[in-house]
């Protein structure tokens, strides 16, 4: 049984029919990249999994359990973490508070903080700083840290390299690679080299459905297979 399975998912965003039958699977332990041009429905796919933008048709199962129709917090609580586009850290909360709130109730908060500080020593230096005052790269690390402490088996990561300088992108890549060691990751990313580097498999999305898939080592960043669907 796959960890995550989407079957013919249709989702509307307002009046717009964004997902027109998306089907994909993610096995436990792997990292899967979801690629495609802007606006094809990659973010909406992640949002549909979390029931933030509930699908109108189709099924999404996690460990065999149907997610469609459930509440977002229930989906998140069963081990699905979200590292959204634009990070969405809580700007008015401190770095430490941002991590704290991601720790599920009942879990050991101190152990979770230790984990976060170990993974991101830069953040460990500034626990009291307001998250809104952090740089883009620091915010991205914080968002990943939230995903790590949340007791998640599946991380939905949306455009982590967006808007970041190349050096920082490297750090983000490293952080995600470390995370991938014990978590399954579904990664939406336009930075092809980084996506293919991290991923085991990939899907290409175009016009709201999956048009191609394969192993990451079959292609590289300038393969025709990819560039025909991804243009500047």
């Amino acid at each position: 049984m796959s960890l995550l399975e989407l079957d013919s998912v249709h989702t509307y965003y307002g009046d717009s029919h964004v997902l027109e039958g998306v089907s994909l699977t993610v096995e436990e332990g792997e990292t899967v990249a979801l690629m495609g041009r802007n606006g094809v429905g990659k973010t909406t796919t992640l949002r549909s999994i979390l029931q933030l933008t509930p699908p109108s048709e189709g099924s999404i199962t996690y460990r065999g359990e149907e997610l469609v129709g459930r509440e977002t917090h229930e989906v998140a609580g069963s081990g699905v973490g979200w590292i959204p586009e634009e990070r969405r850290v809580f700007a008015q909360l401190s770095v430490e508070e941002n991590v704290r709130i991601a720790v599920p109730e009942g879990d050991d908060v101190d152990a979770a903080l230790e984990l976060a500080w170990d993974a991101f020593p830069d953040l460990a230096d500034i626990p009291e700083r307001n998250a809104g005052a952090l740089s883009g790269g620091q915010q991205q690390m914080l968002a990943i840290a939230r995903g790590l402490v949340g007791n998640n088996d599946l991380l939905l990561v949306d455009e982590p390299s967006e808007g970041l300088a190349p050096l920082i992108v490297e750090e983000v890549r490293d952080a995600l690679a470390r995370a991938a060691e014990d978590t399954t990751i579904l990664l939406v990313e336009q930075n092809l080299p980084m996506a293919l580097d991290l991923a085991d498999r990939f899907y290409v999305v175009d016009h709201g459905s999956v048009v191609d898939s394969g192993d990451a080592d079959e292609v590289d960043a300038d393969s025709d297979r990819l560039t025909r669907y991804l243009s500047a």
């Binding site: 977002t72 959204p84 969405r88 809580f90 700007a91 008015q92 709130i101 599920p104």
Partner: protein, 333 residues
């Protein structure tokens, strides 16, 4: 012709004893405004609902508090006992109003989550009509004049609060000092709750981004209910305090008298920000106290303090719509 009068008044105003009096008055008014507005801020910050029924809840709190006091306090009751009864009333009213608020949220407001936020505002407007009229029925049934301030409740104050004390040339009213103290305690209590508890953390995060909060596994809807209950409880205890204050008093009109300044404080401070509410309460309190002095001593326009308060709202919205501490949002709220 006006100038010499104006100069005269200014001279009077800038005397030390006047300034101290106005300052203390302003602080006590600020304490009241803070207590009135805090509940509204919490609810608006997290749920995005401008609770029109907030004033009615304060009024109900005033009447309930008055009821407790009138039942418990007799003419022979000592001051200490009266204070004790007052604190009991605070706890009782908080619990009662919180329960009422929670019920309202679960039973009614929750139905409207999927609709545009304007519907929730409309609903609370309807609730205020119902609550006000039910209170009117109850109050007249027991023989009280709904529009007049409840004199018996006012009379349950401890004796030492009924008169002013003269300290170093300045008139200090013990009631004002009590109000300042209580206001400070409530503000501090809410602040501690928001910053030191997990629930407070969740509320602060949810006020900023309730979608992300839900995606972290937190049942935001249940938090909505708790916050609405909390906000209602706070409205109630503000009412209990006002029951003792001659300027306000427990009466039907108290609902509107507190609702409008609460709106001003919440919006001027910056919707849903705790810090903004406290600072705005201080601002509005000082403006109110200053303008009251000017009305009493120089400008014969009875509505001066009120008008100034609304002007503060208008000016703030024109100059800085997100309020003193609000984050500039695009559209949405």
């Amino acid at each position: 012709m006006i100038l010499p009068l104006l100069a005269d008044a200014l001279g009077q105003f800038f005397r030390p004893d006047t300034l101290v009096n106005v300052f203390v008055d302003g602080l006590s008014k600020a304490a009241i405004y803070a207590m009135i507005a805090l509940g509204l801020t919490l609810v608006f910050g997290l749920l995005g609902v401008l609770n029109f029924a907030h004033g009615s809840l304060t009024m109900i709190g005033a009447y309930l508090g008055g009821l407790v006091m009138v039942l418990v306090v007799g003419s022979a009751t000592g001051d200490v006992a009266r204070l004790a009864a007052f604190f009991f009333a605070l706890v009782f009213v908080f619990a009662a109003l919180a329960a009422l608020g929670g019920l309202m949220e679960v039973g009614l407001i929750r139905e409207l989550y999927d609709r545009p936020p304007v519907y929730q505002i409309l609903l609370t407007f309807g609730l205020t009509l119902i609550l006000d009229e039910l209170t009117r029925i109850a109050v007249t049934f027991y023989g009280l004049q709904p529009v007049a301030k409840w004199q018996d409740a006012l009379g349950t104050k401890p004796a030492f609060m009924a008169t002013s004390v003269h300290v170093g040339g300045v008139d200090l009213s013990p009631l004002s000092l009590f109000e300042i103290a209580l206001g400070a305690v409530v503000v501090l209590g809410v602040w501690l709750f928001l910053t030191r508890t997990r629930y407070g953390l969740v509320i602060r995060a949810g006020s900023e981004d309730d979608e992300m909060t839900a995606a972290l596994g937190i049942d935001v809807h249940r938090v909505f209910t708790v916050v609405f209950a909390l906000g209602s409880g706070l409205a109630g205890i503000a009412g209990v305090l006002l029951m003792w204050d001659q300027v306000w008093g427990a009466s039907l009109p108290l609902a509107q008298q507190t609702l409008l300044p609460a709106f001003v404080v919440v919006i001027v401070g910056g919707l849903g920000t705790f810090r903004g509410t406290v600072v705005a309460a201080l601002l509005v309190g000082m403006v109110d106290a200053t303008m009251t002095w000017w009305f009493q001593n120089a400008v014969s326009f009875a509505g001066l303090p009120q008008m100034m308060i609304f002007l503060v709202l208008v000016v703030t919205l024109v100059v800085r719509p997100q309020g003193l501490f609000g984050i500039a949002e695009v559209g949405d709220h």
